[in-house]
């Protein structure tokens, strides 16, 4: 069979591309902002902080974190929108009937949409992976914590997972006569475990406030664990959203390996824990299966169901029950919190009344929006009259939310994280502060220490005053030790960055202090040095365009204070 027969019609491909190209451009921009531009920004920051400690390069790994958390969720929403728009727009605008009147089979129509959507998902990742590879190659002096392999595995992984999301959405689109219905179904299928877990968890917490059950006990906690497991192991988007921070130092392939082990290691499927690509093959197979299923359903769906929310009548009851149940749980979580904490039996009554009232409201809404539609046999004019403006409002709201997510996620990438140069210099300043303290136990020239600063950060005057007092105290301790013959001759202090975050002009840098104090040994049997590690937090405030270190301290004092901490004696 010639290839041209296997591929969808060129006319359909061009038409589908033309229809959805605006969404593609937004998606491509989003991916570019989250990956290549972030990498370029980090490289520029690195160059601005030339000569700084290489440990600060940790910031560069964030480009790969675009697959996690907020960005992952936004990417999934984009994939859902692509699937929903490609099919739902035709139904909503009535053009599907035009297509079905043309010499195209239903298979042609759906395959064209699948190919175009797949291209629109893949191209931004391929293009950005190419650009990032180029950036890595042309900046070989920069010590990136990831390689070309990690970038391409990020691209392949993202494309595969988003293709899965797309296939689920296409499947939902084949049984729904409206964009809204398809989006609703796809969201339910993909995010049900997350939502259910959150709802059960919040309800369990709410029951806890009544004092009737305590943490870890009762049916709710049992269900909470159950749904937590489901969300963790059975829902593919979680693999995007819940990527651990190990992405920073390992490639995504390793993360996938972890997922494989989590899912399959203790099951009869343990044989797949051979190679991470087995998971990719499984996912590709799953996508193919879903697509084939969508083709089958679309071929069997009657056109007369267009304009109905759910074209498959038998799904209506299930969706309605699910909607009512989830709404009741939502009411149980929200209403008692609004009404105020009530303990004991009255608290339980409030909870139960909240469930009941929310369920009734949801039942009424379900009747209104998910009820049996009879529009199938009405003329076009009558159908238009029946269309509810509320549905349009909901679609509009969803679009606005998605756009807001996209908009707010960009500042997160570009400005709400510390730049590499900032992070390097803040850590360097913190390092100097700690080194000064440890050095105070060894000995100083007697002159009061000057305030520390560099191009991006400085010690605040208040902190400097406090540090001066503490250094005097440390000097007194040094003298006391010297009189006992226990003086130190040398010190070493290094800070290793653990994390950093910015909130409204305040940056918190958490680092691990690794210090040593070398003894002035009288004979070889004595220990050479005393070493310790302590997790420290450093708080910087943005003042006058510079980050000012205003305070710092040991994060966990339960194991005692390190030697360079003042004890007030």
């Amino acid at each position: 069979m010639p290839l041209s027969k296997l591929l969808p019609s060129r006319a359909l491909l061009r038409k589908d591309w033309r229809m959805t190209r605006s969404l593609f451009l937004v998606f491509a921009s989003f991916i570019t902002f989250a990956s290549t531009l972030t990498l370029a920004y980090n490289i520029v920051s690195y160059r601005a902080a030339e000569g700084a400690w290489l440990g600060g390069l940790r910031a560069s790994h964030r480009l790969l974190e675009s697959s996690s958390g907020f960005h992952g969720a936004a990417m999934v929403l984009f994939a859902i929108m692509m699937g929903v728009v490609s099919m739902g727009l035709e139904r909503d605008k009535g053009t599907l009937s035009v297509l079905l009147g043309m010499p195209y089979s239903r298979r042609d129509i759906l395959s064209s949409k699948a190919v175009v959507s797949l291209l629109q998902i893949s191209l931004p990742f391929i293009a950005n992976a190419l650009l990032m590879t180029l950036l890595l190659r042309t900046n070989q002096g920069v010590n990136f914590p990831f390689g070309v392999g990690a970038i391409w595995s990020w691209a392949v992984h993202s494309v595969l997972v988003l293709t899965f999301v797309l296939c689920v959405t296409l499947l939902a689109s084949t049984v729904s006569g409206k964009m809204l219905g398809a989006a609703f179904l796809a969201l339910v299928i993909l995010f049900f475990p997350f939502g259910m877990y959150a709802l059960v968890h919040v309800n369990a917490t709410q029951w806890q406030t009544t004092g009737l059950i305590s943490h870890g006990q009762g049916l709710f906690w049992h269900f909470s664990d159950l749904f937590s497991d489901a969300a963790n192991y059975l829902t593919v988007p979680l693999w995007l959203i819940d990527f651990p921070a190990v992405v920073a130092v390992n490639s995504i392939v390793h993360v996938d390996m972890n997922v494989i082990e989590l899912v399959f290691a203790n099951s009869v499927w343990s044989f797949v824990v051979v190679h991470p690509y087995v998971l990719y093959l499984l996912l590709a197979g799953l996508c193919l299966g879903l697509y084939t299923w969508a083709q089958k359903w679309f071929a069997g769906t009657e056109l007369e169901h267009d304009d109905e929310l759910l074209a498959l009548p038998r799904l209506r009851g299930l969706i309605s029950v699910g909607f009512i149940g989830c709404s009741a749980l939502l009411g149980g979580a929200v209403l008692p919190a609004v009404l105020g904490e009530t303990k004991g039996v009255p608290g339980a009554v409030v909870m139960l009344l909240s469930y009941a009232s929310s369920a009734v409201v949801a039942w009424m809404l379900a009747r209104r929006f998910l009820g049996d539609s009879t529009t199938g046999h009405l003329s076009q004019g009558a159908m238009k009259a029946k269309r509810s403006p509320i549905a349009l409002l909901i679609v509009g709201l969803v679009l606005v939310i998605v756009m807001l997510i996209a908009m707010f996620s960009l500042p997160v990438v570009v400005s709400r994280q510390l730049t590499q140069a900032e992070e390097v210099n803040m850590l360097a300043l913190a390092d100097s502060v700690m080194e000064r303290r440890t050095q105070a136990l060894v000995g100083t020239d007697g002159a009061p220490p000057a305030a520390l600063n560099n191009d991006f950060a400085r010690e605040s005057p208040e902190l400097h005053k406090r540090e001066q007092v503490l250094i005097v105290e440390l000097a007194e301790r040094r003298e006391a030790l010297r009189q006992r013959g226990e003086s130190y001759i040398r010190s070493e202090t290094h800070l290793v960055l653990i994390s950093s975050r910015v909130r409204q002009g305040t940056a918190t840098v958490v680092a691990l202090e690794q210090s040593k104090l070398y003894y002035a040994r009288a004979h070889p049997a004595q220990p050479e040095y005393m070493a310790w590690e302590a997790e420290r937090g450093f708080v910087f405030m943005r003042r006058g365009g510079v980050w000012e270190l205003t305070e710092h301290g040991v994060m966990d004092t339960s194991k005692g204070l390190p030697p360079n901490e003042p004890r007030g004696n």
């Binding site: 053009t95 009147g101 056109l303």
Partner: protein
Amino acid sequence: MHVSLKEVAKYFGGHSALDSVSFDVPPGAVFGVVGPNGAGKTTLLKTIMGMLRPSSGSVTVDGRNPQTETAVRVGIGYLAEAQYYYLDFTVSETLCFYRETYPTWQDERSRELCTGFGLSMRAKVKHLSRGQRTQLGVVLALSYVPKLLLLDEPTAGLDPVMRRQFLALLMDEVAQHGTTVLISSHQLSDLERICDYVGVLHQGKLLDVARIEDLKRQVFTVQVVLAEPPTDDFWRQEWMQSVRQHGRIYTVVAQGERDSLASYFAAAKPLALEFIEMPLEDIFIARMGGEGYAFK
């Protein structure tokens, strides 16, 4: 193209949109479908087009099932009552999509038609008026020279000048290419001018299928002037659609052979008896009245 329907029924849930509809349209014929709102005209055309799957019965176009054999649809043109287009496309992009879809597309003809209708190639479809969108539909339906044209209320939204032009184009199409046409319209005067056959659809059932000339030879307005009023039973005949009285003048809409009707009225010794040929619209109204269709 030869269109054949055999015992076609179509149900939407419990609602019957078509009920045992059977008829044949010979190649090159123009077949008009008339019927009140909700009679099933659009469903009928969509079923012939292959867009809807009949619940029972069979539809064939040149002996092939248009629902399963999509290649048949290359020769079928469909102009829907509700004009759906890709609204963000320009006229040119819309034409391009159709050109790539239909191998028989004639570029020159589409340009001629667009010029004739005054449609700008660069105009976006969403900026066209309802009438202009109908004109675009006509351009699209005629430019790939279909062998079967299914027209669902094609002249709705066209001004009288454009309507006449469209009908002239349609007749030209039939004359030049022997196109078979199925057309549904509430403009019965138009149908009367162009159709060879007409089918009356009511509540999904096909009441009549006949040549227009035959239909006109079977339904008359009879004006009778009687010296003495006859008994009530005289007016209670199945073939009488309606009877109106003004003094001694009776106006009767009657269905049947002219000679037999004349002999029936002659029995009442009329002072005057006149048979008036009815326009299709009046025949339709009378027929629907007989089926109990009226605004209540």
